[in-house]
Amino acid sequence: MARLTRRRLLQAGATASVAGIPLAATAQSPAPRRGGTVTVALVQAPPSLDAQLTSAQVARDINLHMYETLYARDENAGVVPDLAQGADVSKDGMTYVFALRPGVKFHNGKTMDAKDVVASLERFRKIGLASILLSGVDTMEASGPLEVTVRLKKVQSNFLDTLSSPGTPLAIYPAEEAVKDPKDFKFIGTGPMKFVEYAPDSHATLERFADYVPNPNYTKRDGFAGRKEMFIDRAIFRFMPESGARTAAIKTGEVLINETTDGPTAKQLGGDPSVQVLKLLPFALQIAKFNHSQAPCDDVNFRRAVTACLNAEETMEIAFPDIYKLDGGLVYGYSPYYTKAGTELYNQNNQAKAKEFLAKSKYKGETLTFIVDNTRPPMDTATDLKEQLGQIGIKIDIKVADWPTVSTLGFKPEGWHFWTHGLGIEPYEGPAKLMSIWANGISQTKDDPNIDKLYADLLAELDMDKRKAIFAQFQTYMYENAVVIPLGNYGMFQVVSSKIKNFVPYRIPRLWGTWLEA
């Protein structure tokens, strides 16, 4: 998630799309038209345009137009080849031999080969933000001009999930760029758009990469993979934190895509023929975490009292008006791993039961600390939870700070009891990523051997059905022990000018496959 939380991007959410809008609906559109400039309003500036160095949502919005990965995710987050043709996995699951797609051009004119891939992955392993993703890799080598062989240290069932993660993308750069000091990196990738300029606090400009060859293995746009055909010549991503300013800009036509707006505004714009209001739901899973190192949150009865009490609908409606879905699943509904296991304990809204648990718990009326970052939806979530828990006698003090402060404090064992934020990319990426949040006690600040074992089992299990069973067990465990409070999925309203054709909301405002009406 991330920083999506920061600056009401959060409210944003994205893909539900997938679930909701059939791709076929757009198939009847008239022939695509080439040309034109599209301005996209984003809620904040990206921390970096070097895809390997950031996991921020806003950075992804821009970067995934410029860079590609060996494997990527399709519309339903399934793992499919992108820059790779495919991979041969040895029986023991320890060796992956990747065949690369021939004729892939970098923005500097060079053709991609195995050396570029190895150099990029080595760069990621060394300085990539999520270098830990490659910690299970033993060796990587260019075993042919278009062949890369990777040996793992031990079985890792989620290795391709990792390679295809859009979170901190394992983007492929030209070898000569990959070895440079990252300060001098020239933002060169293989994607359908290439870098033009970056005006700090104002905008980033990309243009169509003329030599881009859409992946011949696919016939249609599909998630972050598939056929990426670029019709638009130029894209300007403007950073506009004020939601009113974004709305005004789309009304006047200064921008053609507004990444996110709130429910009431979306309703108002609904009748305006010059725009399309699109829903992206789910984009993220809103959760409230317990700090298991601090009394009384270390007490399962206290945690159960809290989860029994809560009315998730009220919280979601206030924090994410008209753009939420009450769903207790810890991965998104379209994932093959989605399960309802344990979710009878979601959204209980049962004060009587809550009071029973509370009486059994060690809570003695002390005031507990709820930390939250200073963007509206999470603050609203905290405010409403405080109000609801106050009704069964739990006293809460809300402590607000900026994201860096809160997210540092939130992994420490002292100084907080509750913390709420969204998980955007984790439920999208699947069980391994999601479970890693609580593995080794990271998010609850106290080791839970049961969770650690389930996580290890999942990583060692190569059979899909068995992995599904493990994940269902995990979800049940999370609910029964009230490890965390899942509040529901939220999404975002995207506003797109009617001049833009064939736009389908996804986790980022994808520009490939769309075109501008004459």
């Binding site: 920083r3 934190p241 994201w403």
Partner: protein, 314 residues
């Protein structure tokens, strides 16, 4: 005079040292971790440590401070963690926006403030005087960011007269620049307008009560000629001084107004840096802004001294 300026400059040296020390030290009190900016909520402490190391944030205080002084003495404000560029470059890129915003609002504030003040003075005690003074006082009492939001609501969202937050550099298109700057500059000028109007009025009133004005008046010159030919030049000195002070105030106000109108200026740079813990940018911009402030104060003091020789002896 030269002597006065030298002395005034010497006083600035310890202040500069203190200012630079404060700029550097403030971020050490910050609990937040700039490394967290790069990470999402599922980042592990190991990942954090790794990023901290890459950013050089794990070195002890005194080493980082020495490095900071070493750099600023060479005019280098360090390198932004988030922006992938030097702090100096980041400031210089944004400076034209802040300067043009400040300059335009200064024009608004001075023209409208002086005219309103003159009018009020000429109609002293009358209906026009009172309404102008009430308006000026209201201007002084309105929060800038709220006024900005109201103007966006009225003129951008409802009436569509102005765009909202699509900054156009002046060298790209003057009309576009004017469109994107008019509302923010007016917002910023509203407070200062009130201030200048009040100052102009009281300076004019003081002058108009003096003998030579009465004499000019009794000679039968039209009142408007008396005011503009004889009154205004004599009230100009305090008005000019106020304009110097106002310029400093505009810089502070720009911090907030840039935020409201999404203008890519120095104010947004520093607020963004504060909220994302971009340490080098916080330190660098604080120092930069403080130095500009000190310079403006210096100029104001020198102006005073030029105008009123007694100041030099103090």
């Amino acid at each position: 005079m030269g002597h006065f300026i030298v002395r005034r400059l010497l006083i600035s040296v310890p202040v500069l040292v203190l200012v630079s020390l404060m700029s550097f030290a403030v971020i050490w009190l910050v609990p937040g971790d700039p490394a967290a900016v790069f990470l999402d909520a599922s980042a592990t402490p190991q990942q954090l440590a790794q990023v901290r190391h890459q950013l050089g944030l794990d070195e002890p205080f005194h080493l980082q401070m020495l490095a900071w002084y070493g750099r600023i003495l060479h005019g280098d404000l360090g390198r932004s963690i988030l922006l992938n560029r030097s702090v100096t470059a980041a400031i210089i890129e944004r400076l034209p926006v802040t300067l043009s915003l400040t300059a335009l609002s200064l024009v608004f504030a001075v023209v409208m403030g002086v005219v309103a003040g003159l009018l009020a003075a000429m109609r002293h005690g009358g209906w026009a005087d009172q309404s102008i003074m009430v308006l000026a006082l209201i201007g002084l009492s309105v929060p800038e960011f709220w006024l900005g939001l109201m103007l966006i609501f009225a003129f951008a969202v409802r009436l569509h007269w102005f765009p909202a937050g699509n900054f156009v550099p002046i060298n790209e298109s003057f009309a576009g620049w004017w469109q994107s700057m008019a509302l923010p500059a007016f917002t910023l000028a509203a407070v200062q307008m009130g201030f200048i109007a009040r100052m102009t009025r009281s300076a004019m009133l003081e002058v108009l009560h003096q003998d030579f004005i009465r004499t000019a008046n009794s000679k039968g010159l039209p009142w408007s000629v008396v005011v503009t030919k004889h009154g205004l030049p004599n009230a100009l000195v305090p008005i000019l001084t106020v304009i110097g002070i106002v310029t400093g105030g505009l810089l502070g106000g720009a911090v907030v107004v840039e935020q409201v109108f999404s203008l890519p200026g120095v104010g947004r740079l520093v607020i963004g840096a504060v909220l994302s813990r971009d340490f080098p940018v916080i330190q660098g911009t604080l120092l930069f802004v403080a130095v500009i402030y000190l310079l403006i104060n210096l100029i104001v003091d020198v102006l005073y001294a030029v105008v009123d020789p007694r100041v030099r002896l103090e």
